[in-house]
């Protein structure tokens, strides 16, 4: 197992686990089990993550009550319980996947959050926050430009006074660095 704990061995192990996870997902998705795809994927991903971490523990030095002991204990329990969830999902088919709501809407929201994260580092906190708030409010069907403007600029004023001036948080300023 030592071989799989680092370097190429670990990469191969990770690839195997990824393949297994994708295979499980596809098996559920394209068979009569499609309504349980999500319910099966969550424990599978957790198991894969656990098994990846388990392999890494072989890189830790061995001693009584050493650094590998507790992670191995948690991972073993996690793998057993996730297997049990998978087993019950397959056998009793109790919990179907929840009905997909506006899932695309959530993905757009997550995408905007990620874009906001990168924008903070390039445009700076204040400019990117204004754009983020305006875009999110518009996305959530707020169609009043004045309200959008007032809320976004109100938040900027608040965060400037409270975080920048009172709490001395060094917010990223981006291209505005020279003006502050």
């Amino acid at each position: 197992m030592q071989y799989f704990s680092h370097g190429t061995g670990l990469a191969i192990w990770a690839l195997l686990l990824l393949t297994g996870t994708i295979a499980t997902g596809l098996t559920f998705r394209f068979t009569s089990l499609r309504d349980w795809t999500g319910q099966a994927l969550v424990p599978t991903v957790l198991m894969a993550m656990g098994l990846l971490f388990f392999a890494i523990t072989f890189d830790f030095h061995v001693e009584q009550a050493g650094p590998a002991m507790i992670p191995r204990l948690w991972i073993s329990c996690l793998v057993v319980l996730c297997s049990a969830i998978l087993f019950f999902t397959l056998r009793s088919k109790a919990d179907k996947d929840p009905k997909a709501g506006r899932i695309g809407f959530v993905f757009i929201g997550i995408g905007i959050m990620i874009a906001y994260f990168f924008a903070i580092q390039t445009l700076g906190y204040f400019v990117s926050s204004f754009i983020f708030l305006a875009v999110m409010m518009y996305l959530l069907s707020c169609r009043k430009p004045l309200v959008i403007f007032l809320v976004s600029s109100g938040w900027l004023a608040f965060s400037y006074v409270v975080f920048y001036k009172l709490l001395y948080i060094q917010l990223p300023l981006g291209f505005l660095e020279n003006y502050f």
Binding site: H61, L78, L81, G101, I103, Y125, F132, P172
Partner: protein, 497 residues
């Protein structure tokens, strides 16, 4: 005499205008956060932690505990007015509160909820003081094996008392525990699961993870169910119950408050279970049980007395042992850590000003909540009516700046977003999020004490120590019993076909 001296230290923390303003602000924010459906007390406290981090530790913790205690009353506002509980425990309040609104007695429903919350909160704090102080003294003699057993017991009860699938709750706890293993091993100094990243050497910073799991995930979940329909609420003033009505409900409030506090002490039980049990007991003890569910003041009083008093109960294990009893307590524990404080018996010896300052502040917060609740209802309703299209982007903005503020790191912001996505996926598939947080928070305590006990006395440490052994047996049963019940339930369902 010693208690009196300690309280005088606590009172000295509250001297001056600053602490009073902080308590008032905490109560207002708590009521508002509690009143907003989707925002739980833990979300509110998590979002506010970054605002408190440059404050003096005592004041910061006073702010956060004031929010905590007031948010339970806040939950009743929307429960009574629009049958939408602001907090999970307020679902019980809605059972009789909303029928009161339908009868045109919304003000009375809110007034009763306020009085019951105030008395319940005060009784909870009184019992907190009575229990926590002696418990902390006893806890000074605890060995690492005892601490390990107690922390495990905390995790076990969280799993066993969680609603829904027990297996999924256990998986959530283990996921949290596994996340806590990331970083430098506290005992041997070995780097674990960091994948060579410097930023992971200390593991994930707690507060951004909490904000992600509690606040960001809620917004994502709300976006999935987005309908765009705005809440409409009538503006109603609180109407306190008359003396005659109060005399009728006083025993209900008292009983519910005691039950709520005791249930709150058990990790994982929390305000919702306390409210349900108290409601049921109030119905059994009532001379007019037929009115329950149709607008009974006793029903509202039972639910609110219990959920507010459970706050005091839940603070007992947190302050005396350092074991959080609920999700909000886990966030509070994070706030303690942010200020380099470790809750537990030593806190009573080393920082009596903070412990007794919190006790005194909680008593004062209840009184302030009564005053603000009577006169501030119209304002709260106005604020709570803010469209979700404005509120949710603002929550995300607070989450981002709050995560960044903790250590000025964009990595924490990324972690917050990542945990937000994980929290949303977990919730979507029926995995509770609070056990993840408790796993993250208790992970270090469990691991360090387990390994210390083994290094000192070998595995015999857990058998020779009577307390540790007893608690471990109870913990084991707490893990196994719900699994057995779940299996039996499953069998019965199969037999039914």
């Amino acid at each position: 005499m010693e208690l009196f001296n300690s309280f005088s230290i606590g009172l000295s923390v509250l001297m001056g205008w600053k602490p009073i303003v902080i308590i008032i602000a905490g109560v207002i924010v708590g009521i508002l956060a509690g009143a907003m459906p989707g925002l739980s007390p833990s979300t509110a406290v998590a979002l506010l932690v970054p605002f408190s981090y440059t404050m003096e530790p005592a004041l910061a913790l006073i702010l956060l505990t004031s929010i905590y205690i007031a948010s339970n009353y806040g939950g009743s506002i929307t429960a009574v007015l629009i049958n939408t509980p602001g907090t999970p425990s307020a679902a019980v309040t809605a059972m009789d509160g909303y029928p009161l609104t339908q009868k045109g007695q919304a003000g009375k429903g809110l007034g009763t909820a306020l009085v019951a919350s105030t008395i319940g909160g005060a009784i909870g704090v009184a019992i907190l003081i009575l229990f926590a102080v002696p418990l902390a003294r006893i806890a000074l003699k605890f060995s690492p094996a005892d601490y390990f057993a107690l922390a495990l017991f905390g995790l076990a009860t969280v799993a066993s008392m969680s609603r829904g699938n027990v297996l999924k709750s256990l998986v959530a706890i283990l996921f949290g525990l596994m996340i806590k293993n990331i970083g430098i091993d506290p005992i041997s100094g070995v780097s674990r699961f960091t994948f060579g990243s410097d930023q992971l050497y200390d593991g994930f910073t707690l507060i951004p993870a909490l904000i992600g799991l509690f606040a960001v995930s809620v917004v994502f979940a709300k976006m999935e169910d987005w309908s765009g329909v705005a809440r409409v609420m009538d503006k109603v003033d609180n109407k306190l119950p008359s003396v005659k009505e109060f005399m009728k409900i006083k025993m209900t409030i008292l009983r519910s408050s005691v039950i709520g506090t005791i249930i709150g002490i058990f990790p994982g039980a929390g305000a919702t279970i306390a409210a349900f049990i108290s409601y049921d007991m109030a119905k059994r003890a009532s001379k007019t049980p037929e009115e329950f569910g149709k607008g009974s003041l006793e029903g509202v009083a039972a639910a609110e007395g219990a959920n507010s008093s459970s706050v005091g109960g839940a603070l007992v294990p947190l302050l005396a042992l350092g074991i959080p009893g609920s999700a909000t307590d886990a966030v509070l524990l994070g706030a303690f850590m942010l200020h380099d404080l470790v809750p537990g018996p030593l806190l009573f010896q080393e920082h009596p000003d903070i412990v007794y300052g919190i006790f005194c502040a909680l008593i004062l917060a209840n009184i302030i909540m009564l005053a603000i609740g009577v006169y501030g209802n119209r304002l709260f309703i106005k604020v709570v009516s803010v469209p979700e299209a404005i509120m949710y982007p603002l929550i995300l903005a607070i989450a981002v700046i709050g995560s960044f503020a903790v250590s000025g790191s964009m990595f924490d912001v990324a972690a917050c977003i990542g945990f937000g996505i994980i929290g949303w996926i977990f919730k979507r598939y029926g995995y509770p999020v609070a056990p993840i947080v408790l796993g993250i928070v208790l992970g270090k305590m469990v691991e360090e004490n387990f390994r210390r006990a083994v290094m000192m006395d070998g595995y015999a440490a857990f058998f020779d120590d009577k307390l540790a052994f007893t608690v471990l047996v109870i913990s084991f049963l707490s893990f196994v019993w719900p699994l057995y019940k779940s299996w039996k339930h499953h069998k019965a369902r199969q037999a039914e076909g």
